[in-house]
Every structure is written in C-alpha cells, then in structure tokens.
C-alpha cells in the first residue's frame, strides 16, 4: 500500500460535451491536507465527487489510499467520506433518523448512543426530532458533518465547509478539521476563503477550467 492518500494520474472527466476536469495529475501524501481553490465551475466539486467515488474519471486513473477508485470502489468506499452541496439526507426523516440510518448501514456498535453523542457535539440535540426539511442551510451542513464523523474516514472531502455557517460555527468547523487531521485523516478542502483554507492545509491545488494552474 502506498503512502499516498490521493494520486491522480492524468484524469479527465466529461459531462456531455464539456470537460469538467482536463488532464489533471497530482498527489497527496497520507496525513497531509490539500486546499482546492478556483472559481465557480472550475471543477472543484467534480474533483471531490470523483475522489469520493460518486463519479469516475472518463480517462486516466485515480488512486485513493492505493485503491483504484473505479475498479476497487467497494474496498475504498468505507474509508472516504464527502460533505458536499447535496447533503445526501432524506428531507422527510428527522436528523436523528437520518444519522441512525447511516449508523446502521455502517454497522456501528450501539448506534443510538453514538447518534446522540454526535448530535450533541454538532449542537443539534434540540432539533434531533424535527424533519430535515425544516432545517436551515447551516444546520444541514452540521448534520452532514455529523454523518462524516460517524464514518471516521481516512480521507475526508469537504466542499465549502464554511459556507452557510455563522462565525461561531465556522470556528467550530476549523476545530473539527484540526481534530480530524490530528487523527491522521487527510482532508481535502474546497473553499473560496483562501486565508482560512491555507491556515488549515499544507498543500494547494488551484483549478481553472478543470486544469491545474499555479495560483495568481
């Protein structure tokens, strides 16, 4: 097993006739964290989706934790987690039910108590039994983070984690990311808040039109 968390070898991704990612190569050592920057539509979200195995490169090879993301997706999936714009939650279930569901799918021991603990940690205990449909954007993001923490991944992919959070929540998010990193988790962070992002990560990848360019 290589010591690389993510290794992209000349990957490209096409949506219809448009190339969201073009000829991208980079690598990220395990335990280190990466900041993804770029304008809207530059391919950040697509790249995160590809690393999380929600999508696969049209051409090229992507290895995450040494597993080929396409061919060995089943072995890889338990170790990566994505928090994205789409929260993956069922709108009609409560926060607790949503979390409990993923806990059961993950085979977590004593799911009920770990759900309770996580909701408390994310400050959602008081709303645990209301449907996600009634949640604000910030609360949804917290719930998505709780789901990621439940999985305890080796590679955590965060798409705009500070968006929609109030200053206090933003600080808490920073602390959470540092906690994850302290456990040896590689964090891939896509954000427009470059200063904040740089303070949390060791490496940076700037995308423009799906290509890697040096940041200006």
């Amino acid at each position: 097993m290589s010591a690389l968390a993510v290794e992209a070898i000349d990957i490209s991704k096409r949506f219809g006739a448009r190339w969201a990612i073009s000829r991208l190569s980079f690598s990220l050592a395990q335990g280190r964290s990466l900041l993804l920057t770029g304008h809207n539509g530059s391919g950040k979200t697509t790249l995160l989706r590809i690393i999380s195995t929600a999508a696969f490169p049209t051409a090229g090879t992507l290895k995450v934790l040494g597993f080929d993301s396409k061919k060995e997706r089943d072995s890889l999936r338990p170790s990566v987690a994505l928090v994205s714009h789409a929260s993956f939650h069922y709108e009609d279930l409560t926060a607790a039910q949503n979390l409990l569901l993923s806990a059961k799918f993950l085979g977590v021991k004593d799911p009920a108590s770990s759900v309770k603990e996580l909701l408390e940690r994310m400050g959602l205990s008081s709303r645990a039994d209301s449907a996600v449909r009634q949640f604000s954007a910030g609360m949804r993001k917290r719930l998505a983070i709780a789901r990621l923490l439940m999985k305890a991944p080796k590679v955590a992919l965060l798409d705009e984690p500070f968006g929609e959070l109030d200053p206090a929540g933003s600080l808490q998010m920073e602390q959470l990311i540092r906690d994850l990193q302290a456990q040896g988790t590689s964090v891939v962070l896509a954000t427009h808040l470059i200063e904040q992002g740089l303070s949390l990560t060791q490496e940076r990848l700037h995308l423009e039109g799906g290509r890697k360019v040096s940041p200006t």
């Binding site: 490209s12 096409r14 949506f15 219809g16 006739a17 190339w19 073009s22 000829r23 049209t58 051409a59 423009e208 039109g209 799906g210 290509r211 360019v213």
Partner: protein, 253 residues
Amino acid sequence: MPASIPLLLLLALAVMVVVHVVVPKTRPILWKVSAALGLVMLGLLMYLGMFYAPPEAFMSNVGRILYVHVPYIWMAFIAFLMNVGCAFAYLMKKSWVTDALAESSAEVGVLFGAVGVAMGSIWARPTWGVWWDWDPRLISTTVMLLSYVGYLALRSFTEDPERRATWSAAVGILSGVSLPITYYSVRWWNSLHQVQSSTASVDKTMGSVLLWGLVTLLCFLFPFIVKRYEIARARQTAAMELPPLEAPRPEAA
C-alpha cells in the same frame, strides 16, 4: 420462379455482410452494392408480388400484402434482436461500438416495425373487417414497437453519453425480455377468447416470392444499420475527443 434464386441472393448478401465486418477496406463499397441490389429487387418484388404470384386461397388478391408485410416485420424482429444482443454486450463490457450499434438497430427496427404494423392494420381491414384485432402477433409486435419508441425517447432525452449508454442498455434488456412474455400471454389470453386466427397454406410459388421479399428487405436492413451506425459513431467521437494537452490560452484582456 424457383426458390433457389432468392436463396442464392441471400447467400451473396450474407457473404457481403461477413466481408464488410472482416475486411474494413471494403466498407465504403459493400453497402452501396447491397442497397443497389435491394432497389432492383424491390422493383421486381412489385411485379412478383402483385402479378406473378397466384392469388391466395381465401384472401385472394388481398393476400398479396403478405409479401411485403411479413418481410417488414421480420426485419424489425432481426433489428430488435440485435439491439438486445448489443445491450447485453454493453452491460457485460462497456464499448462505444455496441452502444452505437444498439442505437442504430433500435431506430431501424422501429422504422420497419412501424411500417410493418401499419401494413398489418391495412390488411386486417378487408380480411377481418376491422383495423385492429386481438391477435397475439399484432399485440406483441405493437408492444415491442412502443417499448422501443420509449427507448429512443430516453436516448434523445439524455445528454451524457455514458449515462445514456448504460440506461438504454438496461431499458433494451427489459424490453427484450418482455417480448416473449407478451407474446405468450396474449396468445394464451386469446386462446381463452377464441379469436379467429388465419393459417394460410403457402404454396411453392408463394414461398419463393415471400423469400424474395425477405432478401429484398435484408438488402436494405444491412446498409441502413451500417449508415445509422456511422451517424451514431460520428456523434460519439464528436463528444468524446480527449481534451488537448495544452491549456487554451486565456484571451488577452
């Protein structure tokens, strides 16, 4: 006319198809030969079907519709069979070739099927007195046609080539599976309802004219699928060239 003449032509066509697949160099020519042969044969079929062949025993002259109706339906069946094969092949191993072939065979099949069913409906009018009947073949062919119209609609409503290929392969397989079930269930339903069924005795001349019609349309089926396939391939490659190695230079402001 002995049946050996259309059989010989069929053999020639089969050789053409095999050569077309095996020797890529011959591809620009052979489909033209086949289409030209088809045109000549179609002209002769007009004469053979309408004047040379004897009138059918019960349906008399109306029975002459047989020589164009049956070949059309058969071509549709061949094309749809090919579609199911390609769908299976695509799901087993992804390939743009089988995807394009599936698209072309589905469209050609819908064409032949639609014309064939229309003919069947015209034929039903003088023989059964109605435009439509609960004949298992009629129903199952129409159902097949409908499911492939859905298939083509799905293809045209999906932009992403890979999703389109996978989804339509799934739909193709489900449609293909439904066909024999529909046929048997309708026949069964029918046998409980005693609807008339027509079994015509086919004499030798009729058989050879029918065979002539089949070979004629096969001569068209082959170039149709080939040319439609080329259209599908051209669309695929237009959408799928790898991005250039060099980044496009940003325009100077």
